[in-house]
Symmetry: C2
């Protein structure tokens, strides 16, 4: 199976655990034998379990590449969108990537799937069958239709011509009201889970029809000139040869705190104490200090270094406009090389804890407008400052004036307290250099 | 007026804003024209407003001396209890302090009052009259009785012989059930607010009767040998000559989050956002990151570097056993010289932001089991390291190995990031030295 996972943008609806640089699919919230895994880790593990040879490609933006490598390791293809251009250009780019870079034949089927459904393994077995259906060529597109469990107003509906397991599609309906949804369901309608499969050539032909490009490299180079257009609008709505396959297994859309907490095995992650009078309360606490809940009902509490949410579960779906109003320094980020955590902000200084994974290093870089001081608090490694390499270990201090080129290389896991000093501290004040070695 | 304010111990019931070293009376929660003031600041200001010449002595433990000086300045007497020995020894010590150290005549009256009632100025005017009553010598003790506003089960009651403004006391009753309280009130009973006045000689005579000591110095020296005994038990219950003065003004006991939030002028202190569906919600947020509340009713949220409380207001009065279970590093403290804030804890390091007030310094000290690195992030001052003094400013770095004697002196407000490095970091690993200058 060739599968493209669409990994979308910043999920403010799960603030404060998601932010501009950490999307909801990277939050480690699902309990496993060895700790917790994120949505993307869970989906990746499930795909591999159902089909060990599955070729997984994640279509995403530059900002997620570090987190993806960090959480999935190297054994995954990543089709990086140079900028956001909606789903049709993203799928066209990922398809060209599969064909031109990964060498997938045009006759092979590709399944496109969002990265964040909360499902069991049977879902991925169904994706496999959907791919086979697409490959058979009975129709140009094969969609997965989720058997509705209630007349939801928040999903799109696929209306098939009959109630067979595999049917031709009659029409699509966008988010109806409850009564209309009930009528659709009576006719055998299915939720549109955003999953579809096609033969690679089909999609590449569509892409060449709509975009003037030669190959993957060319498409990548002109990506920022492409029109923003959804796959539904550009392809699905204009296609008459579409099949839908029913899926009646478990399927949850964990887009809000309310639905997300339903998928949690325990009522809390992180340090939390609840008294007996708490009912249906969930706590996700990423801070080092405890959360104490007393006498709450139907409430979610989420605390991270970005902020603290305390919300009635139903109300939590209305979070977005409130988070939009909160403009804030990004306080924590997972990177491919490790992570950083802002621990103190003053007017003319910022203090950050930097953790480097063994064998990793920062870019070799300099700042124009700030001095920096590193105090190594654990581990061993090497610093390179203006070309000079020196070993460092816990207790060592390195000072760098503005303009000075520097990096740090971790031989073991290495933790550093970095004090940044200056009047205009900004993430944009960074010049990168090639390291001559 | 001579007034002794009893400043009690750690108020866990207002966790996470109060902790082992910060009691509730020091939390800055009451809005004034120039920011916020604490209970102790509010009471001190009110006393001075009613009686500019009032001689105020705070009876407290060593742990509060820094916070008291920090919040009240130097113009206050502090009678320091070397250890906790309940109210009778504390009042005896403070009385000896007034007589022997402050030179107050034995004929003068002294009013003893808890440091944390939430009251208006008329209360302190009443305290002044209570002092005059005690001085007149009509009785040995003069108590203040609070006019009950409801049949509370949580206060002690004073039963006077009649319903005059000033009466002899018939008897005392401890926390009755509601029906009994109602019956008491019908007989003119009053709440015991823990306020009483006496002529200084009366109390000193009692103290000499019960304790073998010569003067303040002697009492202080043998304080740890004294029996723990309350003033009520040692004095009030055995005294037949007691008057009570009615007080019908506003009086609130802000001992729980529920009652405390009632006294807040605004619904939040610190960064907080609430949506329209929140009802009777209060947020006290000392962190640098925002708290977002949605769809909550009758809830208090309090966040500090010690932890986060989210509680139904009624339930918040049952907090103590839960907080007792939370054993935790003290993360923040106000000191006479400034403040400290733990910003990061690792296995073999701890990072602290130290803020020194202008003109102040740390003790000259050393550690046996940890190295330290200071990075000055703002301000100017001087460091003394193993006897050598050097000027420091923002960006300067000072490294100190274990055993090395060191201090820092602030010429302006001075902020320092201190990285502590070692396997056994403890507040007890500190040797103080006299600074030879």
């Amino acid at each position: 199976m060739n599968i493209i996972l669409l990994s979308g943008g910043s999920g403010k609806r799960l603030w404060p655990l998601s932010n501009e640089i950490r999307s909801k699919q990277f939050i480690k919230i699902f309990k496993t034998e060895n700790g917790y895994e994120s949505m993307v880790q869970r989906v990746f593990r499930q795909i591999r379990k159902v089909d060990r040879g599955a070729k997984v490609t994640v279509a995403t933006s530059k900002t997620q590449v570090s987190a993806l490598h960090n959480q999935l390791g190297g054994n995954v293809g990543i089709s990086v969108e140079p900028c956001r251009r909606d789903t049709f250009p993203a799928i066209a780019l990922a398809s060209a990537y599969l064909h031109d870079i990964q060498g997938v034949s045009g006759e092979e089927a590709v399944v496109v799937c969002p990265v964040d459904p909360y499902v069991e393994d049977d879902y991925f077995a169904a994706l496999n069958r959907l791919g086979e259906l697409a490959r058979s060529g009975e129709a140009n597109l094969a969609l997965m239709g989720i058997q509705p469990t209630y007349p939801s107003e928040k999903y799109g509906y696929i209306i098939p011509v009959d109630q067979e397991e595999i049917s031709r599609v009659d029409t699509f309906k966008e988010k109806p009201d409850e009564d209309t949804a009930r009528a659709y369901i009576a006719r055998g309608a299915l939720w549109n889970g955003g999953v579809f499969a096609y033969r690679l050539n089909y999609l590449l032909d569509k892409a060449h029809e709509l975009i003037d490009f030669t190959d993957y490299e060319d498409l990548y180079a002109k990506y920022d000139t492409l029109e923003k257009i959804s796959f539904d609008y550009a392809v699905v709505e204009k296609e008459s040869s579409i099949q839908v396959m029913r899926f009646a297994g478990e399927w949850k859309d964990l887009g809000t705190w309310n639905t997300l907490t339903e998928a949690m095995e325990d009522s809390s992650i992180g340090e939390a104490v609840m008294n007996d009078s708490c009912e249906n309360v969930h706590v996700i606490n990423e801070l080092d200090v405890p959360v104490l809940c007393m006498g709450l009902k139907d409430v979610v509490v989420s605390a991270s270094s970005e902020g603290i949410l305390v919300s009635d579960k139903e109300q939590s779906s209305y979070i977005k406009p409130y988070v939009d109003r909160i403009h804030q320094q990004v306080m924590f980020a997972d990177k491919s090389w490790g992570s950083f955590q802002v621990v103190d902000i003053e007017e003319e200084s910022m203090t950050v804890k930097v953790t480097l994974n063994p064998g990793h290093s920062m870019n070799y870089h300099s700042h124009e407008r700030r001095d920096e001081v590193w105090t190594v608090i654990s581990g061993e490694g090497r610093t390179i400052v203006d070309g000079m390499e020196q070993p460092v270990k816990a207790g060592d201090v390195v000072t760098m004036e503005a303009g000075c080129r520097h990096t740090i290389i971790a031989d073991t896991e290495l933790k550093v307290i970095e004090v940044q000093l200056g009047r205009e501290i900004s993430v944009h004040d960074k010049h990168k250099y090639e390291l001559e070695r």
